[in-house]
Point group: C2
Chain length 469, copies 2
């Protein structure tokens, strides 16, 4: 049988330890925050029936990995966690309401891959279901705010409301069936600027690659009204709300969206969040069609190239596709892979090859049980302790491995030390710093740089002291 | 558009919070142990090329979810984490060796579903790659031992070695190409008993449902030799090793497997592991064909119906299918779903609906920002605090929700309390215990059972005291 070439699919990736340790750290921070808000974990299958995945429309159809499973059913891999959540809510009627859950899972989208955009990626979703109270929207935004504060990057949360955008359609005299297309164009404002938006609302444009992008064909009056809306003064949230109220004063039903955004603003205002961290931005629509009320997204100020790393909003109608009656719900989705890449770029996550604190080298092969006893003693004190289980017998090679893995402390016990019930501990960081070549056992024992001989009874204490340095 | 019926595929399941909280606890214990041994996390895609998944043979072919992805490649969902690991080792040649990794991921197998056996399930794998040192095998067994000790169930770890089984084939004069079939039959000893094993090695048998099971057609001498092997005295590991040595004394090359199992035994012997927790069982083969050396499995003594919850062994040849040269490797796989079901049955995991410690009820709707300030204060002290974001305005209904979610403490602040800068805290466990119906605000305020009025400045301290009770 021939050799099988080891490779993975385009748009997919392996996460090796350095990335994975950082990723786990990020997930654990977000989990902690979610649980501190009373969100509880759930999990759903990766595979769902095709008609479940397409329940609210064909919008995402082209991106889904559909296939026929062995029982003969048409199924697909989940492309988000919101549709499966809606299915869950419909299926288990006795869940407590509000149902405040989080889920961190892989999703799959057959999309154009590029650096930072994968066909398989991890979403961390937070949702509150069964409540139309705007306090649920505020809470989700707050939880996201807390996550980002803990993770450390500079960020802006941009708020809007689909109801305000719906009022814009009325205000500008646009056909209701054009609404979603208009929202998608407006959503490009931040990235592409007002001129591009105007062209795409009107006659269309030719992009830098020479491709023609079809316009929506709105007339000048309509486009002017949208521009007026998009350029409302909004230096503060209050100013944005007041100016919008004035602009929409004769639009029937416009109060609802404005009141909701004001309510969120009032909730957050009490918490002395610095100016400019949460802003109102009337261009935000979020891509997905299922949003119905407040929507928001997060951009990292110093890593804008990763786009929005969090997005969310209210989806009061989605669950209805499975139940026939609307169930209010609101949520957010954190793009963990993008966040990882951004935080790596910003040097806000440690990217280290190992989490071990200590390595125990093996000097006397037939005393392995004894080494394991020493390892157990150190582990029991809560110190992550790796016993060298590789094939190299020389201390030089074993310490080289520890060095590669960035393990800070080595414990060395040879025949002599066993006899005297002692151990040598070595601060490998010091050696690294001094860029000293680790010699063979004899040479290196002579040097004793960053090294200390301690009685076996004090080993744990001495390691703790060395780690603290 | 009609309503889409909310349902999931046969053999798949949703994990609702009660299960999921328990599952996360289990995973976190195992992760902690792994990291304490210096294992580091990795992750691989759910989808692999078909030829990767089948690299070492067609053994698992029928169980894999294969499909054609949109780019036109034949792919499949991973059915274990060992084949993808082998692909990773072959693909990234510069990984440090030994490469000690863990991975917790979903895998998929189109298998006959039954209670506790799912088509989508979570495996927690620990592996040490690039070392033929038996200390790596010992370490993995030790780490598994520690995991189980921390999780609490009674268990037995059964050890064997594929090399010993290979020697059995020689000893019994069986054709080498029959070896794997013989191992699969022998592996049934614990579950089915020696008579069934003998029948299946020989002429075959008819099972209780009346189905005929074909036998391997071994002759009586061969079967007698296998029986002799399986009934070796093995009250202690030393006895098992000694009696096997005697039996195999004229089998060429039999020492290697015996020495390896002795070496593992010696390593573990130093750690004063109680008798009978790790035993040698010559019938253990483990299902998968890729094992080459030490193999082991774990059965929970008080939950045997879940079968082996952990299995593992050395697979020195698997990586070679991707590289052309053997790379030694050893590992274990924990069946998280089975473990969850078993620990639930044994009442060794808490199955609670929420992890929140405190609920803050909303009495004055327009003071939501104030409530959020209170929530933040409590959260900042490390106490998981849920703000009620549901639609119910009555205190009775809000506390009913808290009761359903098993949240121990409620914070109640009404207009009066706001004015006096006070809060009421209520021990909901006391109420639950006394089985007292929570009345409307007035009635319940009169009762004040388990309730205390405290100055806002002492709120956090008072909650801590109440939670400690």
């Amino acid at each position: 049988m021939g050799i099988v070439e080891p490779k993975i699919l385009r748009g997919f990736r392996d996460l090796l330890p350095t990335d994975m340790i950082a990723l786990e750290k990020i997930i654990s921070v977000i989990k902690d925050v979610c649980e501190s808000y009373g969100f509880i974990p759930t999990s759903t299958p990766a595979i769902e029936y095709k008609n479940i995945l397409l329940a609210y429309g064909e919008e995402t159809s082209k991106e889904v990995y559909f296939f026929e499973e062995p029982d003969g059913n048409m199924v697909g891999l989940r492309y988000d966690l919101t549709v499966p959540l809606s299915r869950v809510i419909a299926q288990y009627k006795n869940l407590p309401k509000p149902f405040k859950r989080y889920q961190v899972s892989t999703v799959w989208r057959y999309d154009k891959p590029n650096p930072g955009r994968f066909r398989e990626f991890i979403q961390f979703d937070i949702d509150a279901v069964g409540t139309s109270s705007i306090s649920a929207d505020s809470e989700i935004i707050l939880a996201i705010y807390d996550c980002l504060e803990r993770l450390g990057p500079s960020f802006i949360i941009r708020l809007n409301n689909r109801k305000i955008l719906n009022s814009l359609i009325v205000f500008a005299g646009i056909e209701p069936n054009m609404a979603r297309s208009v929202f998608r164009v407006i959503d490009k404002l931040e990235k592409q600027g007002i001129e591009v938006v105007k062209q795409e609302l009107g006659p269309g444009r030719v992009d830098i690659s020479g491709d023609k992008i079809k316009g929506l064909g709105l007339n000048e009056v309509q486009i002017k009204k949208i521009e007026e809306f998009l350029s409302l003064p909004k230096n503060t949230c209050s100013e944005a709300i007041d100016s919008l109220k004035e602009l929409f004063k004769s639009v029937k039903g416009a109060e609802e969206g404005i009141d909701e955004i004001k309510e969120i603003h009032d909730h957050l205002d009490c918490l002395s969040i610095p100016d400019g961290k949460i802003i109102i931005d009337f261009s935000i629509a979020r891509g997905l069609d299922y949003y119905t009320g407040p929507v928001f997204e997060v951009v990292l100020t110093d890593a804008k190239e990763y786009g929005s790393v969090v997005g969310g909003g209210r989806f009061d109608e989605l669950i209805g596709y499975f139940t026939g009656e609307n169930t209010p719900a609101t949520g957010a989705s954190v793009g963990i892979d993008r966040l990882l890449e951004a935080l790596k770029k910003l040097k806000l996550v440690k990217t280290k090859p190992s989490t071990a604190d200590v390595i125990i080298t093996i000097m006397v092969k037939d005393k392995l049980g004894e080494y394991q006893k020493i390892a157990k003693k150190i582990r029991d004190a809560g110190i992550k302790t790796e016993l060298y289980v590789g094939e190299k017998t020389s201390i030089k090679e074993q310490l080289k491995y520890a060095d590669k893995q960035d393990i800070p402390v080595a414990v060395i016990v040879g025949e002599d030390e066993f006899t005297r019930n002692e151990a040598s501990i070595k601060d490998l960081r010091v050696i690294k710093k001094q860029k000293i070549e680790i010699g063979e056992r004899e040479a290196y024992l002579k040097e004793r740089i960053g090294q200390k001989k301690v009685p076996m009874g004090n080993l744990v204490e001495e390691i703790k002291l060395m780690l603290k340095k």
